[in-house]
């Protein structure tokens, strides 16, 4: 059996004795007999490290890995610079607890402060927290932030990622808040802004929009911002952060809360997690943002240092009156994203964004040449929807050639994605496969 208990049986007996017990049974007699299990657990016996290593490899080998991926829909395959994992795997970062003891945790605290700064730079917002679980929970937490005394109803565009909508609904089931879905315009794939204007009223707390949206399309944020703020509600903008390397920022659009998933920044696909929920807001709403925030201060010698701050919002102080229950977050993922952003720098991030756009548009042109048609005609970033007679046939044919095609949205629709990783050659190959099928 495998064990991580260092003390030998003899040592354990000696320690029991020194602690005043005759045996383990004696020590555990504080547990009443009527609740004791009284049998062995019905699970397998423990194994040696080598056996476990073999078994985990065997399980992992049952998954199919695609070298070529054209699927996104909330999980994106990007290049991860070599230094990213080297640093994220450092044991001091990996195994540390939350930096409650600031004097010995300056490294962690400073890394979070740097992360917060990078998120503020990307979004243009004034303050960012140290992360939440993922982009979907970030959107749900943002809806909670926007609640005011007479404004409770949350509006969400139909064009957000389905998981984002589902998580918002689940969180709002908890807080007894109504969620209303603002329909998409069927032909352009964007939020129906006229409907939005009709639906908003004096009880509206906020509107959540994703830009680019689930279908990859760039929303008309200018109109949305005007409509939402004229109704006195807050604007929550969810962005794939790669796009912020080039596109107008949430702050420039006038958003009140910027959220999204930082997974594209150095975090692998990893079957859906761990990812990284980023959240940023205006200084006006600083005391409403949930989760940990690191602030700069000085020590008794006047030296710069960092501490967890504005803790009066948090559950360990405010208990049931806290802005959220969040305690553990995704700190190591935030560190990973910071290293990624430092490695690529401003030029590199723009390069990634530009290449994503270029490759997605090249893919779209090649796929349409091959017989698929684009469902929507509005500008898109690096994802888009195609129509064809049989989506399954396309996806299956690609799979046979070792290519993960886009995501099937319906029998006739596929949501495609391209990133800087996709080469011209791969794109031409997938187009050739599609041509044969269609």
């Amino acid at each position: 059996m495998g064990s991580y208990i260092p003390n030998t049986e003899a040592e354990q007996l000696q320690m029991l004795k020194e602690a005043g017990f005759e045996s383990f049974e004696d020590m555990l007699s504080v547990i009443p007999a009527e609740v004791k299990l009284g049998r062995e657990l019905n699970i397998p016996e423990g194994k040696s490290e080598l056996e476990v290593s073999r078994e985990m490899k065997k399980i992992a080998a049952k998954n199919k890995i695609y070298d070529t991926v054209f699927r996104g829909a909330g999980a994106y395959k990007h290049y991860v610079p070599a230094i990213v994992n080297t640093i994220a795997n450092k044991e001091e970062f990996l195994t540390a607890y939350t930096p409650y003891q600031a004097e010995i945790s300056q490294g962690i605290l400073q890394s979070i402060f740097e992360y917060q700064t990078m998120i503020c730079e990307l979004t243009g917002m004034d303050v960012a927290n140290a992360s939440v679980y993922d982009g979907a929970t970030a959107a749900a937490e943002a809806c909670a932030m926007c609640q005011e005394r007479k404004r409770h109803t949350v509006y969400v565009s139909e064009t957000v990622n389905p998981y984002t909508l589902s998580v918002i609904k689940t969180y709002c089931f908890g807080s007894n808040v109504d969620v209303k879905v603002v329909p998409a315009c069927k032909c352009c794939g964007r939020t129906n802004t006229e409907k939005l204007a009709e639906m908003l009223d004096s009880e509206s707390a906020c509107f959540v929009v994703q830009h680019p949206n689930y279908y990859g399309i760039l929303e008309d944020i200018e109109t949305i911002e005007k409509t939402v703020h004229e109704a006195g509600a807050k604007l929550v903008m969810s962005c794939n952060p790669v796009t912020l390397g080039t596109l107008k920022t949430p702050a420039e659009y006038g958003a009140d809360v910027a959220v999204g998933d930082g997974q594209p920044f150095g975090l692998g696909l990893a079957f859906g997690g761990p990812y990284l929920g980023y959240m940023a807001t205006t200084s006006k709403m600083m005391r409403k943002i949930p989760g940990r925030i690191v602030g700069e201060t000085v020590d008794t010698q006047g030296e710069r240092g960092f501490v967890l701050t504005l803790q009066a919002r948090e559950q360990h102080i405010r208990r049931e009156k806290a802005s959220s229950n969040i305690c553990s977050n995704q700190a190591l993922c935030a560190l990973t994203a910071s290293v990624y952003l430092a490695a690529v720098g401003p030029d590199g991030l723009k390069e990634v964004a530009d290449q994503c756009v270029a490759k997605a548009h090249y893919l779209a042109s090649k796929l349409t040449e091959a017989g698929l048609s684009l469902k929507y005609d509005k500008p898109f970033f690096n994802e888009f929807v195609t129509e064809c007679k049989c989506a399954d046939a396309v996806i299956d044919a690609c799979a046979k050639e070792g290519i993960l095609a886009g995501l099937k949205l319906s029998d006739t629709e596929i949501l495609w994605c391209a990133t800087e990783l996709n080469t011209a050659c791969e794109i031409e190959k997938v187009a050739a496969i599609v041509k044969e099928v269609c």
Binding site: L41, C120, K169, E296
Partner: protein, 477 residues
């Protein structure tokens, strides 16, 4: 230490990307006015920056970490190796089920094993952290009462000794929180509990052993009182490391639980996360589970959605790579290793307690479970040395301090949880450090307020940080 932005110099960069091999495309969309001020740095400088930060961080690999209620046990290296396998890291969450049988197997086997350990019938691994699991569990309770048309249940009972996430989670689930005072043993006061339960009781949130490290002997009576009133019982798994293989929440009368894989099941804390907070339940609550659960049929795994699912707690299936690590741990320690871990966690705590209780008064004078709470109220009163002072002095002795000022019902609390993975020598060294700190405090109480002296920074001005918040780097110059 320099901030990474202070190391940045225009024009420095890594050479990461080849030139674009397709035609450039000018997107018809509003662009940002200025580029984000991200660092511009060479790989060498970047490496050194984070190495310096790492030197100013305290990992489990740096030393003893007896943080009460956090279960800072060793993070096995084989777990990391398993979580780094391409088969797990390189799969897209929206691949076809037939292509991700390995991932589904991980979820199913972890679910089954954790259900057996906790006495639950089903479980969701979707919650990303302990508090997230709590929230999930409370939503299951809410969905259950609502489905029965029982709308009058608006209150969740939480002991005053509970972790802050309990009342915060209850509030997020739309409940009013009723705090019930603990008795003088730090356990649930049955009379006070009976006085607050009623037909408005939706449920009770409890951990056992409780937050003062004591096993509440009246647990069956407690859960019975709640059940008789029509409420449900929620088990906070924060302290499961004390009782695995000996007692199961499901056998103590609990209907729904959460676990912290980043505590009990050896996955690393990452400086604050990612964790994983699976939420398990009895059969009658399973129809409300969020996300996808996995079923197995003749060796083929598939996802299934609960009939009346509350929805999703986050995107996809949870912090999957954390689950991979926990499964690796479960396979390693197995049926004998699970109870062995718990009894040694309890032994290590009682050993330290026995060696300290003559000078550090224990908040409760009884056998503890995996952790114990000392109260420095007397020291604070007599010589004006607080729990904070002692904690900071321990920093200079190379020991991560215990949890301070928790639970709230103990004044000047220091909560010590050694875990089972520490050897006797480490415990003895820590005991010496605690004892010599006590001697120092008595000899020179004034000096204790200046501790720590040996750390990279001295005591930090938290009031200033909160009053005039500086929460990002200022690029002004």
């Amino acid at each position: 230490m320099q901030l990474i932005f202070e190391r940045s110099k225009k024009g420095r960069k890594l050479s990461l990307f080849p030139a674009c091999d397709v035609p450039a495309f000018e997107l018809d969309a509003p662009k940002r006015a200025d580029a984000p001020k991200l660092p511009e740095i060479s790989e060498n400088e970047l490496d050194r920056h984070y190495t310096e930060l790492a030197k100013h961080a305290q990992g489990l690999n740096d030393g003893f970490y007896p943080l009460g209620s956090c279960t800072m046990k060793h993070n096995p290296k084989i777990n990391e190796q398993a979580a780094a396998l391409d088969g797990f890291t390189q799969v897209h969450p929206l691949q076809a089920e037939a292509e991700v049988q390995g991932s589904l197997e991980v979820i199913k086997r972890a679910t089954d094993t954790l259900c057996e350990i906790t006495g639950m019938d089903n479980m969701t691994l979707q919650p990303a952290a302990g508090a997230h699991g709590e929230f999930t569990g409370l939503l299951l309770i809410k969905a259950y009462h609502e489905a029965r048309g029982d709308k009058k249940r608006t209150k969740i009972i939480v002991p005053d000794s509970a972790h802050g996430t309990n009342p915060a989670s209850a509030a997020m689930a739309g409940y009013d929180v009723v705090s019930v005072e603990s008795n003088e043993d730090g356990c649930v006061d049955l009379d006070k509990l009976r006085a607050v339960v009623g037909e408005d009781t939706a449920g009770l949130m409890l951990t056992n052993p409780n937050t003062v490290g004591i096993f509440d002997k009246n647990i069956l009576e407690i859960t019975n009182i709640i059940h008789e009133a029509g409420g449900l019982c929620y088990y906070d798994g924060a302290n499961l490391n004390a009782v695995m293989g000996y007692v199961r929440p499901g056998d103590m009368g609990f209907d729904v639980i959460h676990l912290n894989l980043h505590k009990t099941f050896s996955t690393p804390h990452g400086g604050g996360g990612p964790g994983s907070g699976p939420c398990g339940c009895k059969e009658f609550l399973a129809p409300y589970l969020p996300g996808m659960t996995v079923v197995e049929n003749n060796g083929v795994y598939s996802f299934t959605k609960a009939e009346h699912s509350i929805g999703d707690m986050k995107a996809f299936y949870g912090n999957f790579l954390v689950i991979v690590r926990a499964l690796t741990y479960l396979l390693t320690v197995g049926k004998e290793g699970i109870p062995a871990a718990s009894r040694n966690a309890v032994l290590n705590a009682n050993y330290m307690k026995a060696k300290l209780e003559d000078i550090y008064p224990m908040a409760y004078d009884t056998t503890c479970m995996h952790e114990f709470v000392m109260s420095l109220e007397g020291m604070k009163h007599d010589i004006d040395v607080s729990a904070l002072d002692v904690a900071k002095a321990l920093l200079d002795r190379g020991i991560h301090p215990p949890t301070m000022y928790f639970p709230l019902i103990v004044h000047e609390a220091l909560m010590v949880e050694p875990t089972e993975t520490e050897c006797k020598e480490t415990l003895d060294h820590a005991i010496d450090a605690f004892r010599s700190t006590y001697e120092d405090a008595k000899a020179n109480p004034e000096r204790m307020h200046m501790m720590p002296m040996e750390t990279p920074v001295k005591r930090l001005d938290e009031v200033r940080a909160a009053r005039t918040p500086v929460v990002k780097f200022s690029f002004e110059d």
